[in-house]
Amino acid sequence: MADELAQGSGVASRQPSAERPAGTRRVGSRNALLSCAVLVLFCVPLTYPVLTTYSYTLQIMTTAFMWIALASSWNIIGGYAGYISLGHNVFLAAGAYFAGGVFAYQGVSPFIMAPVAGLLCVLLGTLVGAITLRTSGPAFIISTIALMLIARILFDNWDYLGGSNGLSVPLLDLETGLIKVPFYYGMLLCAIGAVYLSYRVRHSKFGLGLRAIAEDEVKAEVAGIDTRAYKIAAFALSGFFIGVAGALWGYSLFYLRPEAFLTLAVAADMVLMAIVGGRATVAGPVIGAILIVAFNEISVSQFGNSEINLAITGVLLMGALLFFPAGVVGALRERRRLPRILDWD
């Protein structure tokens, strides 16, 4: 099974030895190109128009980075391990409320607390995963929805954290032109971290085990994989960068309300992005997140109505499932048209 999976993945370094030098060189040039792209992203806020005015571009890019982090993290459990979670926004809310609460009451900046919020989400993921991962298939999905709704009730009624009225977080003490910049860098780092984590998991023995679980859990168990521990680890690990992103996003909203985080639409977007881009691939969630964020912006500016946007999201999800179940990356790979720059598996 391991061979089968490795072959299916098309990893350049695992191709026959005769082709290896060429493959390695291509991977090298791909990594160089990607590094350049990241470098350009780091320089964007330094450009003149961004520094002088409140930047819409910066805001959109920050949003895109956040969704890249969320969808890539979701992909670890939902893509690699094949356990679809519709409750991953609980991590987002937990991260936001933890960092926001610490900031509001103790004055420690969410930028410092973000990694701690991530670790808290790993802990939360371990506890919750130990319960919900006793089930599988549809029952697992149901349990994650229930988890989300329990969290919603909890936060709606937790008066210390503002309840359903919300908790206001002190404003960042910067000029309006600059106020988006720290969030931009924070989210960019978060997105890079999440994609890197996803990449490392994909290329590890752990990731191989997860994909074996997705293929056939019983066979994976027979092959000696501790499926339960693997699944719980994947669930917990997927919480880390969602927690970090939640801490930053909550701060950037300046106001935490349960309904900003804990609606099924938020959970749906995460799943939609991973599926549209290509589940169980490294590049898929990134592409999916960029496409969906761009689409949402266009659709909201065209219709100015989030209800129509919601309806289109639903139709897109159905269309993707029926016609492109493998997503952009998967569909391109099947046709052998996937550009090497996007082949991160």
Binding site: G82, I84, L86, I131, T132, R134, T135, S136, G137, P138, A139, I141, I142, S143, I145, A146, L149, I150, I153, D156, N157, T263, L264, A265, A268, V271, I275, N305, E307, I308, N309, L310, A311, I312, T313, G314, V315, L316, L317, M318, L321, L322, P325
Partner: protein, 291 residues
């Protein structure tokens, strides 16, 4: 004591309605292993239909069942044929259909929201606010009528499943899909019909919902979460289970509301769901292999 009896009576009346709402969901799962997350959205759409029929044409919500149920039966056939049947050969059928119905639910919610805004609706029929007083206990007429209608529909469903040939075929498919196919059941056709019946039950439940509860486009998430709790607690695919779980949990929730606060009403269902998943994942009446 009278207070406890009062709460129990209200819980039972509500539970009967819950059971009817969840019956279509559990039957669709039983026959096809599809968790139809759009079931709640179907109910809300039906509730809108019933609401407008009552407001504009004066058709009583109970009579509108005769319109919503057949209409949703047909809609169910179409939805199954156009959407779900395409995934039958998919290796990950279970989760693909969950996501597909999730998309359908979002699409329906968004369309309703765009068409009718998020305003809360409820049909104000005369019996929805009047009661019978028996000693110190009161029985709301609307809820009582609704409960009776649910028992009636449950009876019809039972009769259909136990006394007609398509009913036999559906039960056979629920028990063992492969074996049913071997003895000559056209599983594809039975699946389509079962989905239609499930949708028709959602339509009937929507008619009742239009005067029993306030509803708005986004309300279906609350409902589907509650109904999923019921069908998991009752055992996925078990109609008897969903009846017992519906009434049992509604009574527990009614007491939780009285002793603690209304917040706990919904928590009761979700906590029951988690406890069942932990202790007895197959549910009260479920077969161990169904999950």
């Amino acid at each position: 004591m009278t207070n406890a009896i009062q709460i129990a009576v209200l819980g039972v009346l509500l539970g009967g309605v819950y059971a009817l709402m969840a019956s279509g969901l559990t039957m669709i799962y039983g026959v096809m292993q599809i968790i139809n997350l759009a079931h709640g959205a179907f109910m809300i759409v039906a509730a809108y239909v019933a609401f407008f029929l009552y407001r504009d044409s004066g058709i009583d919500p109970f009579l509108s069942i005769l319109i919503t149920a057949p209409a949703f039966f047909v809609a169910g056939l179409i939805v199954y044929t156009l959407l779900f049947s395409r995934l039958v050969d998919s290796p990950r059928f279970g989760e693909m259909t969950v996501l597909l119905s999730f998309g359908l639910a979002l699409a329906l919610e968004g369309s309703l929201g765009a068409g009718f805004s998020g305003i809360y609706h409820r049909s104000d029929v005369s019996y929805s606010t009047s009661t019978w007083d028996i000693g110190s206990i009161f029985i709301p007429k609307g809820q009582a009528y609704g409960f009776v209608a649910c028992l009636g529909l449950f009876g019809l469903l039972w009769a259909f499943l136990n006394l007609t040939r398509p009913g036999y075929a559906i039960r056979a498919t629920m028990q063992n899909r492969g074996a049913a196919q071997v003895v000559g059941v056209n599983v594809t056709r039975i699946s389509t019909i079962a989905f239609g019946i499930g949708a028709a039950l959602a339509g009937a439940a929507g008619s009742l919902m239009s005067f029993l509860f306030t509803f708005h486009p986004a309300a279906h998430w609350q409902w589907i979460a509650l109904l999923l709790s019921l069908i998991v607690v009752g055992g996925l695919g078990s109609l008897a289970g969903v009846f017992v779980a519906g009434i049992g949990l509604a009574v527990v929730a009614a007491f939780a509301t009285d002793w603690l606060s209304p917040t706990w009403s919904y928590l009761t269902f979700y906590l029951a769901l988690f406890i069942v998943l932990l202790v007895r994942p197959q549910g009260l009446f479920g077969k161990a292999a169904t999950i």
